[in-house]
């Protein structure tokens, strides 16, 4: 090696100036992206002579995305790789991972998985906040009969935005923050397999958010979150394009993220971390992202076809010209059903993880639970037709879909067995994360059972398309998955941020949310049972009472959201410092110091010799534990101060 090369290899990157911090950063990304969006849309508008608004809007979004990434410096690495004569040095990689960048690293193209995890957490909380504002608008409108507060077109847009923002938020809410921050540490890795793709997956989500906001300025969209053609193709206002592009970009983001997580877990597990010793959180995330890899391309494809129908007047979905609207429904639901399990599986995994820690007991039937997560994933890909029981297509298709959908309740039952067996005869410490797990279990019982009514043809015949469906999926997506998300937030916040969330506020958050949520959606179950259709801007008089009750309970949900916001703010400002192993957990993330060092493990990577669920075993138990533990990797709660001193 030449002298210059040696010098380059060993040189440290100097302390960055403010200008170096800001360019490239999200600021330059937004500026360049906006310029690119304007330029491209003006060009397309001129070429089409203003006649094709959809094309102009599409150009706006395409320009925004491509130029944003230029502005944030995403292409720099690609160009360097293409034209450079050497690999980046370790110091340069560390700089890219945010070393020495202080808080700015959260606003730049940073590859450190912990930074990406924090970015995802902040974004998920932001999206939930925005989505919940939409929910409160919906409950406001439905609190009294008649289209009282908003014109019906505005209401339809609010419903659609609430739906799609919440769906996107719940898809990323666990795999994003915890899949990125916690999972690599859990498997004993220093970072993810593709650090730059990690940054890409996050910034694709970031760049996506203004796209859906623009629908408010483009006339909104009338189709609700499912975006059914032919209504999606009919719209004259280009607001529908915002929805289509929101999905297309999001699908790319989740695909990139999924590939990254799968490769990381396959390849970067530390020595001794066999698949059999993987924490169940990792299994939940893996199955979820595998499922999303299979499902999201169909969502993306369906939206590309809608965009083509709109811009280029193709007729994928228009019967009069040879298309068929059932094609859209099949494409959409082939994605749509696995998608809800993409959302659910990591939440179930968190529940198991948290229950084990706070019952001080290994997960009961752990291997069966992993098997049940796998079975749910496989089955969920073949049940989509239950959304189409009454679409008018041919009856013989209904029977196999009904069978598969009923069968999913078997592995779901195994999940309940695992959690019940974990807490049974445990030493249960009811902390805020544990409260959310308990709430999750209660809500999941209701959500799962009401799913049976919808899965079965004779009962779906009176319930399809009504508020019963809405209440069911809120019980599973919100009551189960979002509760799991909050369990994860309160559980891992001390590790990720280094401060304790206030437990009093956490309990207040839980109780307000639990009571408000159940009150709201039990009322809506009843409304659906007596026949209220979905998407009712105008609530008809027979359904007025349950809707008013639901809206009153929704006030509690709103209060819970604000309490949580307050908790996060005061904790960030002046919260108590957390210890390294806040809860006495046994997974690897609790064995590293807080704040987590840049490369996760100081010195050598750990060697793992057992599962993290060997609570209470002075002797190795033949079927649960595979070996004696190394003392310095499995700390008892009493020895925490010692662990902190050892760093």
């Amino acid at each position: 090696m030449s002298q210059e090369a040696i010098a380059a290899n060993t040189a440290e990157v100097g302390r960055p100036t403010l200008r170096q911090q800001m360019f490239p950063s999200v600021i330059s990304g937004v500026v360049v992206g906006a310029i690119g969006a304007a330029v491209l849309s003006i060009i397309v508008n001129a070429v089409t002579q203003g006649a094709n608004q959809d094309a102009t809007v599409a150009a706006l979004y395409v320009g925004w995305v491509f130029f944003f990434f230029a502005g944030i410096g995403a292409y720099n690495d690609v160009l360097k790789w293409g034209f450079a004569r050497r690999e980046p040095t370790h110091a340069e990689e560390m700089d890219l991972a945010g070393k020495g960048r202080g808080l700015w690293r959260y606003f730049r193209w940073t590859t450190d998985h912990k930074v990406v995890g924090m970015q995802y957490l902040a974004t998920a909380l932001f999206l939930f906040f925005v989505g919940s504002m939409g929910a409160f608008m919906i409950r406001l409108e439905q609190s009294r009969p008649g289209a009282v507060f908003f014109p019906p077109s505005t209401y339809n847009t609010i419903v659609g935005m609430h739906g799609i923002i919440m769906i996107v938020a719940s898809v990323i809410m666990i795999s994003g923050p915890f899949g990125n921050f916690v999972v690599p540490i859990m498997i004993g890795a220093r970072d993810m397999a593709f650090p730059r793709l990690n940054a890409l997956s996050y910034w694709l989500l970031f760049v996506d958010i203004p796209i859906i906001i623009t629908t408010l300025f483009l006339g909104g969209f009338q189709t609700g979150w499912t975006g059914y053609a032919p209504l999606a193709v009919q719209e004259l206002t280009p607001g529908m394009m915002a929805y289509c592009f929101f999905i297309i970009i999001f699908a790319i983001s989740t695909t990139v993220g999924a590939m990254n997580i799968i490769t990381t877990v396959l390849v970067l597990r530390t020595r001794g971390m066999t698949f059999g010793r993987l924490p169940i959180m990792v299994w939940g995330v893996i199955f979820s992202v595998l499922l999303s890899l299979a499902a999201f391309p169909f969502f993306m494809l369906s939206q590309i076809m809608v965009v083509m129908d709109r811009i280029f007047q193709t007729s994928f979905f228009e019967g009069a010209y040879g298309g068929n609207n059932w094609v859209y429904q099949h494409l959409f639901w082939f994605f749509g059903h696995p998608e809800v399990y993409v959302i659910l599986l990591p939440a179930l995994a968190i529940a198991a993880e948290v229950a084990a820690v706070f019952a001080r007991k290994g997960i009961f039937g752990r291997r069966m639970m992993i098997g049940s997560l796998a079975t749910i994933s496989i089955l969920s890909a073949i049940v989509w037709g239950h959304h189409l029981y009454f679409s008018g297509s041919n009856n013989p298709l209904d029977a196999p879909f009904m069978l598969d959908t009923e069968l999913i309740s078997i592995p779901t039952g195994v999940f309940f067995l695992a959690i019940i067996g974990t807490v049974w005869r445990g030493r249960i410490w009811v902390t805020v994360p544990m409260l959310f797990v308990i709430g999750l279990l209660i809500n999941f019982v209701v959500g799962g059972i009401t799913g049976i009514y919808l899965a079965d043809l004779p009962t779906d015949e009176i319930l399809h398309g009504g508020m019963f469906v809405t209440a069911h999926f809120h019980y599973t997506l919100v009551g189960t998955a979002v509760f799991g998300f909050f369990a994860g937030v309160y559980f891992w916040f001390p590790k990720m941020v280094g401060k304790r969330l206030n437990p009093f506020l956490g309990q207040l958050h839980f109780w307000l949310f639990m009571v408000g949520f159940n009150g709201t959606f039990l009322s809506l179950f009843y409304a659906g049972l007596i026949g209220e259709p979905r998407w009712s801007a105008n609530v008809a008089p027979p359904f007025a009472v349950p809707n008013t009750i639901a809206s009153l309970f929704a006030i509690l949900i709103a209060a819970s959201v604000f309490v949580m916001v307050y908790n996060v703010i005061i904790t960030l400002r002046s919260g108590e410092t957390a210890v390294a192993n806040e809860w006495g957990g046994k997974t690897l993330e609790w064995m590293v110091p807080t704040p987590v060092p840049l490369e996760n493990f100081v010195g050598e990577l750990p060697v793992v010799t057992s599962t993290p669920y060997d609570y209470g075993t002075p002797e190795p138990h033949p079927s649960d534990v595979e070996g004696r533990l190394e003392e310095d990797l499995r700390l008892q709660p009493q020895t925490l101060p010692q662990a902190q001193a050892e760093g």
Binding site: F150, I158, L231, T237, I570
Partner: protein, 252 residues
């Protein structure tokens, strides 16, 4: 439970107030609009203790009553009030016989659904001559030489009730179109239109407090979007104040 400072609890209350304030603010913002629709009220003129007259007009573009709308909306077909102001809501007195007169300036387009070829819920006249179906128009034309009608309606004026209405009203009248070759010889606020067809009909309102919708069921207008499946009930067809709106039966 650990004791917290009073500032802590005050902070909770302040956050709740700010949060609900934000919700209220958003509700007010969304109320004003998400980008489309005209507003305005037209009240039927009360002509007696239980009678009232409502005058409306339909135009092939929005120059008359939505001249200040965006470039796209100005080209839309629209309903205007009889005095050529914009409206979205019609107000009618309760328990009254309402006489509706519509000046129809627009040419005809074939109905998508023949159901609306029939006058329903009322009896109607075209330039004073009774008709009950668009097929009657042919015989009316022969009786008034020099004044031809289109075989198709330009629009329909259809009143329908909200679900579970206590006093359901259903009225649907096809508004016969002006012949497409008719000369544009009427000046309305500087815009030239052909001589309108006058369609009139009557119906009764019920008690105050009931709400109805008015909507056109003959898609027309912009050829790119409206005439092709899925039959463009978009653009003016789903924009309040153009081809759709509300009716409130109320005391005034």
């Amino acid at each position: 439970m650990r004791k917290h400072s009073s500032g802590f609890y005050i902070g909770i209350v302040v956050t709740l107030i700010l949060g609900f304030g934000l919700v209220t603010l958003l509700a007010l913002l969304f109320r004003t609009d998400v980008g489309e629709g005209a507003s305005g009220v037209v009240k039927a003129t009360i002509t007696g203790p239980n009678t009232a007259t409502l005058n409306l007009a339909t135009y092939p573009d929005s120059q008359v009553c939505h001249a200040d709308a965006g470039a796209q909306e100005v080209a839309w077909v629209t309903y205007c009030a009889g005095d050529n102001s914009a409206f979205e809501q019609i107000q009618l007195p309760p328990n009254s016989l309402i006489t509706v007169n519509i000046k129809q300036y627009d040419s005809g387009t074939t109905l998508v659904n023949d159901y609306f070829a029939q006058v329903r819920g009322t009896t109607a006249t075209l330039d004073g001559k009774p008709f009950s179906n668009i097929s009657d128009v042919a015989s009316i034309s022969k009786n008034t030489p020099g004044h031809t009608f289109s075989a198709d309606p330009g629009h329909t004026f259809t009143i329908q009730s909200a679900p579970n209405s206590t006093y359901p009203i259903f009225v649907s009248v096809p508004l016969i179109g002006v012949d497409s070759n008719a000369p544009a010889n009427v000046n309305i606020n500087g815009n030239m239109y052909p001589t309108p067809n006058i369609i009139s009909f009557q119906f009764r309102t019920g008690p105050a407090g009931t709400v109805y919708l008015w909507h056109c069921y003959d898609p027309c207008g912009d050829t790119q979007y409206a005439r092709n499946p899925p039959f463009g009930f978009s653009g003016p067809m789903w924009t309040l104040g153009y081809m759709a709106g509300t009716i409130a039966v109320t005391n005034y």
